[in-house]
Symmetry: C2
Subunit: 324 residues, 2 copies
């Protein structure tokens, strides 16, 4: 059995999983209160001891995903989303504590690893996962392996440019994809459309900016609210045209949309497919599916962390075939 | 020794190369006259027999690059740039003819394979090559392997969108990168600037559209012609901002600019570096070099074809390391 740990700014999620992806045990605790790396580490080790003691299997390894975690060093480096500022050698500490192998990666890679190890991408060697939450993250798999990049920073699709002098982004630039395509982008688009249509007849015009959420826009769209529906179409147009560019760059077999905003389902998927297909190169005849995750959303990251250590332990033959 | 063959619409280039990349023999013949695949094949086989008979080494394999050639099947499929319309099973025919192993790939992949096998990218696992000729081609290498894509169509960077409703492209769409960044794009930009400045004082305003070439623009820029210099700056601005996006997607160690237009040297390289660095994400602190090829331009494709078969024969350990 493997232990998968997803350390997030708010919550740390953990699961004991067997090689088939079945959960033997699951737990989570709040990360937010910890402002000291060592105190967080002690809490994590307590939780690990509890979980492992209750299950009668040998632990073969631990996979960890965390913000700003470096695969090569096993260190959580300079995580602005976590409560502490010190570097944390999570790999070194956990290897010493549990006497098993530990692999660490940036948390944004977990959905791709989970999907390729246990999900619908198991048989795929080339695919892309787009995670739509507060921001937009992505994982690109080519030749059966995650495209990590020379500095471990590949897959930052959320910051490719959509529009020069476009919306202001938290990164300090303007026009980044995630300012349009994310839960936050959806909200910004609805406010833009309220402005364009002078409020229109939207049921959402009574919401303040802080009250509005992607869920409220989704619910309003499902009830037939025109502005909420147009918000999804506007978002899908931008996402679809960027996915058409991505087909040209990495030529995936399928594109998965995951994360909170993907729960809007066909409201988002249908116009995104249409926009991608109308933007793509004519000679690109192949149908590239846009798919939801095949795994339970709340477990996808834990499964990714387990996949990380399982594959490190027993490299799949698929990763070793030398082909151009 | 290996035989590398680069089949182009105009010329077929061939070279016998040893494992270190040294040329034992070199030849080329005109592809254009052949309107029948079998006649071309007979001519190619004659040339191969001649070349190999003059060198006293055993031929270990043949690598072939050709337009629309499929790595998986070894067939040149539907090459609009070649004089014939039939499919040509070049791998099957040459294997039978020479009794050695043959590998085939799309010719746009050859520069990347050449550079990673014999050139400055030998020690790199993640890099990008942009080929600037009549159009714009690209090869992306990740984890030490070429990103080929599920349908073998990855690296078509020339057709990502720069500007909605932008310049008309041969692909039938508008605003593709290669309509701005290529020898043809350079010429179109000079004509746009002649229009903007009402001719300005450019020495090139006496040229007709068909007379103008990328070389003439380069020479005028080197002589200090303002419009020709601005043409390179305009081109570099668009290329640099797209390279900044590419850093976010595949995070390469270096980017190589090769092909005829790269001969403009610092006229192109310097403003491209400046544009990429001013567009890139602030948190992307690492310096990514924009470099010329380290190999002789006229031999790069032949070396790529040799690298293709050499690596198929003796897979480098670098390709087999399983890392995320």
């Amino acid at each position: 059995m493997y232990l998968g740990i997803d350390i997030g700014g708010t919550t740390t999620k953990m699961g004991l999983v067997d090689a088939s992806g079945a959960f033997l045990s699951e737990n989570h605790f709040s990360t937010a209160p910890y402002s000291d790396a060592n105190q967080f580490l002690s809490a994590l080790e307590r939780e690990i001891t509890n979980m492992v003691s209750l299950v009668d299997h040998k632990l073969k390894g631990i996979g960890v995903g965390a913000p700003s975690a470096n695969y090569h060093t096993g260190i959580i480096e300079n995580a602005v989303n976590l409560g502490w500022s010190e570097q944390l050698d999570i790999k070194g500490h956990l290897e010493g504590f549990m006497d098993c192998s530990v692999s660490v990666t940036n948390d944004c890679n977990l959905p791709a690893i989970g999907e390729m190890t246990y999900g619908a991408a198991r048989s795929m060697r080339d695919f892309v996962i787009i995670s739509l939450g507060t921001g937009l993250g992505s994982g690109i798999v080519s030749n059966g392996r995650l495209v990590g990049g020379h500095h471990g920073m590949a897959g930052e699709l959320g910051h490719v440019n959509v529009k020069p002098n476009g919306r202001r982004c938290g990164c300090g630039r303007q026009g980044c994809l995630e300012t349009y395509v994310s839960a936050t982008g959806l909200k910004r688009t609805l406010f833009k459309l309220l402005a364009d249509y002078n409020g229109g007849h939207s049921e959402l015009k009574g919401c303040t900016f802080d009250e509005l959420t992607a869920e409220k826009i989704t619910e309003a769209a499902l009830r037939g609210d025109h502005l909420a529906k147009e918000t999804f179409e506007y978002t899908a147009q931008i996402l679809g045209s960027k996915l058409a560019d991505l087909l040209l760059i990495t030529d995936p077999e399928a594109i998965f949309l995951v994360g909170g905003m993907a729960r809007a389902g066909e409201l988002l998927f249908k116009p995104t497919r249409a926009a991608m297909n109308s933007s793509k190169l004519n000679t690109y005849n192949s149908v590239v599916e846009i798919l939801p995750s095949s795994l339970p959303p709340e477990r996808l990251s834990i499964l990714g962390a387990c996949g990380l250590i399982m594959n490190a332990d027993e490299p799949s033959k698929a990763y070793n075939k030398n082909t151009y």
